[in-house]
Amino acid sequence: MRTPLDRSTSSLRADMAAYDPVLVDAAQPSPTLSSAERLAIYHRQYWFRLFTVLQGLYPLTARLLGYWRLNSFAAHHLAERPPRGFDIEAIGDDFAMSLAEQLPEDGTIVTDSGLRIEAAAVLDAARIDAAFHRVSRAPRSEPLRPGPADAARFGDSCLRLSASVALVEERWPLAELRMGFAERHGDERVSLLGRWPTPRHWLLVCYVSRLGLLALDPLEAELLGLLQRLPLEQALGQLESAASPADLESLPERAQAWLARSVRLGIWAGFVDAR
């Protein structure tokens, strides 16, 4: 049971014992419950509902930290950014950012099961969960299918990534783990495996009714990032300067293939003026 009303949320219990007297007077006691106890049912349900939604939107983070630990961060997030509007899942929009504010990147954190893990891994997990959340909520849009007439645009424009696509970087093996949670539900804990020697990159794509996760070469990820900031020629130049001597010879051919694949996958939504 993921009820929030336990050890890590004792502050919520304290809140519930201290309702405004006007509110307590407005509510009638029942034969078995005081007015405050009856109000507390709503209070508990409010937190229970929001915590459960966040646990569902951040399943990787929740499984790494444990639900109690996640709830304590969620309580702070929700107090700072209480829900507005009819869309309850909007409470997940800023949670990764809120977690980053609460959790120093260079520290460690003790999970529900007593393990001490790197905060950076938890923040990676939250960013990956946030990417899944974001692409899943993307509106329908037509992908960019550039033709000969668009050649000039590549010279003076950047590319805009589709809202249904995210570039994901991981320092621990997390993205594929998260992908598994998109296909099944459950509460099982996950263990953090060893950190990669160098970061790995993924392309996360929401295809209407399902999610796809494609591994990217580090230079391919670099190119896709550059194309969002620079016109094609400048992006290629910068990519070349970032490449190792061993990569340089094959880079033009590979870059062309990566660009063609990105268009084929429909990850671009359009051009953006580079100025």
Partner: protein
Amino acid sequence: MPRTLVPEALGLGLRTRHYRELGEPWPELDYFEIISENFLSEAEGPRYHLDRVRERYPIVLHGVGLNLLGPEPPSTDYLDRVAALAELVDAPFVTDHLCWTGSHGLSHHDLLPVPYVPELVELAAARARHVQQHLGRPFGLENLSSYVEFAASTMTEWDFYAQVVERAGCGFLLDINNIYVSSQNHRFSPADYLARIDRSRVLQAHIAGHTREPNGTIIDTHDQPVAEAVWQLYASAFREQPFPTVLEWDDHIPPLTDAVAELRRAELVRA
């Protein structure tokens, strides 16, 4: 003119968990009820699943975010979105709750009761009438399950509910489980409640499971099969005048076949 449902129709509350189970064979249901808010955004995924379902079943809309009794009138933007969704699926009717769900720009995402007083009957009826006009199709109000009563109340819940619906000229979404839950929490007779409801105005009924806590309070959890006492209450109401019925299951959701089997119990208990 929106399509209609036969009184014996059996429907299921469509939940995200069901999406991957939907397909051949499609479940033997007369219709689905969707949570309006799950389909009000432009997200592509939910719309894809909605399209698959609406090709095969009638769909009714059930909202949780109208905030009928909030400090401000229901949002026009929200009503426009619901109206467009209802038009898209050609919903026979749209429903939401006789409650408030937020104030001062914040949303509680909970269905909160109000004191039952004549002044609020007028306010609720005027707003419900406006909602029905805005939607351009039948609108129904659902009774709450509640855990608190207000010292300021001067009417029974059922009198308040009935007066709002009658003055608004809208319909009842009669939640049988909610009547039972509140009757136990507030010690009233569910038969008295049902007796006050004009059955000709019932658009639909809800049935669902609940949880009894150690202190005796019943919480409307929608996380288990329908309680026997609720089935009995449902059967007595249905036999007097039948109405379409939807099973709601929102937590610990079983496989679709099990949910449909639970819904089909309605045919046995009301026979």
